[in-house]
C-alpha cells in the first residue's frame, strides 16, 4: 500500500527506484522518525526499545582502515589487461578527470546554466538539523 508516484518509470533508467518492501527498508525509513509523544503519556509496551539500536558503523577504527585497504587491494585494475592509465582515461572520457571528481563535470553538464556560482558550497549539514531552501 505504499504510495506510488504516478510518474514512476517501469525501469531501465539510471535512477534506481526500489519500492520499499523488506523490513530493512521500512526500518530505515521510519526508525526514530516522527513526532515523539512524551514518554510519560505513552503506555510502555515491551519490545519497542529493541528497535532503537543504532547499528551505524563509525569510520575511525583500525578494522575499518583494513577494510578500505582490502577493498583497494581487491581492485582488479591490471589483471584484466587494462592498465590504470587506460582505466582513468576511460573515466575521463566519461566525464571524470584526475583532479576534479567526475561528478563535478557530469553534474555541470547535466544542469544547464548552473555554472555561475562555483564558489558556493553548502556547509556540512548536521544530520539532526532540517534546512529549508528558498522556494523551489
Amino acid at each position: 500500500m505504499t504510495v506510488q508516484s504516478q510518474h514512476r518509470r517501469s525501469g531501465g533508467g539510471y535512477l534506481e527506484r526500489p519500492a520499499p518492501s523488506g523490513l530493512a527498508d521500512v526500518i530505515e525509513i521510519i526508525l526514530d522518525k516522527g513526532i515523539v509523544i512524551d514518554a510519560y503519556i505513552r503506555v510502555s509496551l515491551v519490545g519497542i526499545e529493541l528497535l532503537t539500536i543504532d547499528a551505524r558503523i563509525v569510520i575511525a577504527s583500525v578494522d575499518t582502515y583494513l577494510r578500505f585497504a582490502e577493498a583497494t587491494n581487491r581492485l582488479d585494475l591490471y589483471e584484466k589487461g587494462k592498465d590504470l592509465g587506460e582505466f582513468i582515461g576511460d573515466m575521463q572520457e566519461g566525464g571524470a578527470s584526475k583532479k576534479t571528481s567526475g561528478a563535478v563535470k557530469g553534474v555541470k553538464r547535466a544542469i544547464s546554466g548552473g555554472g555561475d556560482d562555483e564558489e558556493r558550497r553548502p556547509a556540512r549539514k548536521s544530520s539532526s538539523r532540517r534546512r529549508s531552501t528558498e522556494d523551489a
Binding site: 504510495v3 527498508d25 512524551d38 503519556i41 503506555v43 578500505f68 577493498a71 582488479d76 558550497r121 531552501t133
Partner: protein
C-alpha cells in the same frame, strides 16, 4: 507537551488495551478509506479534536509490539494516508491509554503545533535520495591520484596479511581520508544541484560504508514531483559512472516533523 503529570500514574498500569497512534491529519469525513487496517489488522480510525485528528487503531497488550509486521503496518498506514491528505507521522510504537488520552494529552495541547506543521507540509511529499559510489571506480581514482597509495597497494596486495599489517593499516587510512575528501566534494556538488529544487531537505546520516556518499530526505512539492524525478533521472545518468542514485518514495514526511522531542 507538559501535561504529563496528570496522567502519568494511571497510565503506568498494565493495560490490556491501548490506542496506537500513527499520525495526525487535518480532520476530514471519510478520510480513512473503508477497510484500512493497521497493526494486528485492527481497523484504522480517526480521533478528532477541533480541525485536526489522530489516526489510531486499537492494540492489545497480549503481544509485544515491534515485530516486523508492526513496523510495516505503521509505515503502510502513513504512506497510504500521505497519498490522500497531509499527515504528520508519529514515532513508531506510540501507544496511549484511550481516545480521551489522545485528545487530552496529544491533540489539545499540540493543536497549534500540529496545525502549523500540517500547513507547512500541505501539498508536499518526502523522497529519500541516497548516493553511493561505484566502488571500483572511485578506488581506482584514489590509487591513481596518490602515488603513496599506489605504492602501498603494490607492496601489500601480494603479501600475507601478517607481514603487511602496519602498511595495510596505513593504506586503509590514506584511502579512507581520500574518500572522505571525495565524499565532501561530491556531496556538495550533488546537493548544489538538488536542493534548489526542493522545499526542504535534511541529511539522514547513513553508514560509514566505503561506498557511502550522501543520504538525504527531500521534501518536494507534489506539483513539481514529475519534473523533479525527471531531473534526478538526468542527474543519475550524468554521474552514473562514479555514483549511483537511489530514490525511495514518495513516503510520508517522516524526516520533516521535528524528530526527537517537540515538547
Amino acid at each position: 507537551m507538559t501535561t504529563a503529570t496528570s496522567t502519568e500514574q494511571e497510565h503506568d498500569l498494565d493495560l490490556e488495551r491501548g490506542c496506537y497512534v500513527y499520525g495526525v491529519v487535518p480532520f476530514g469525513d471519510e478520510l480513512v478509506p473503508p477497510g484500512m487496517t493497521g497493526l494486528g489488522e485492527a481497523p484504522v480510525r480517526l480521533v478528532r479534536y477541533d480541525d485536526i485528528a489522530a489516526v489510531v487503531s486499537d492494540v492489545t497488550s497480549d503481544r509485544p509490539l515491534g515485530r516486523a509486521a508492526d513496523l510495516v503496518a505503521h509505515s503502510e498506514v502513513l504512506d497510504a494516508l500521505a497519498g490522500l491528505t497531509t499527515v504528520v507521522p508519529v514515532h513508531f510504537g506510540s501507544v496511549l491509554a484511550d481516545e480521551d488520552s489522545v485528545v487530552q494529552d496529544v491533540l489539545a495541547p499540540g493543536r497549534e503545533e500540529f496545525a502549523d506543521l500540517l500547513a507547512e507540509l500541505e501539498g508536499r511529499v518526502q523522497l529519500n535520495l541516497r548516493a553511493t559510489y561505484v566502488e571500483d571506480a572511485v578506488l581506482a581514482e584514489v590509487v591513481a591520484a596518490d602515488p603513496q597509495v599506489a605504492a602501498l597497494r603494490e607492496r601489500t596486495r601480494d603479501l600475507p596479511e601478517d607481514e603487511s599489517y602496519g602498511e595495510r593499516v596505513r593504506l586503509g587510512e590514506l584511502v579512507a581520508r581520500a574518500l572522505e575528501h571525495k565524499r565532501e566534494e561530491d556531496t556538495a556538488v550533488l546537493m548544489d544541484a538538488v536542493t534548489p529544487r526542493v522545499a526542504a531537505w535534511v541529511e539522514r546520516g547513513g553508514g560509514g560504508g566505503i561506498d557511502h556518499v550522501v543520504d538525504v530526505a527531500l521534501l518536494v512539492d507534489t506539483a513539481n514531483l514529475a519534473s523533479f524525478e525527471e531531473f534526478l533521472e538526468g542527474l543519475a545518468e550524468a554521474v552514473h559512472e562514479r555514483i549511483r542514485l537511489r530514490l525511495v518514495g514518495p513516503v510520508a514526511p517522516y524526516d520533516f516533523v521535528g524528530g526527537a522531542g517537540w515538547a
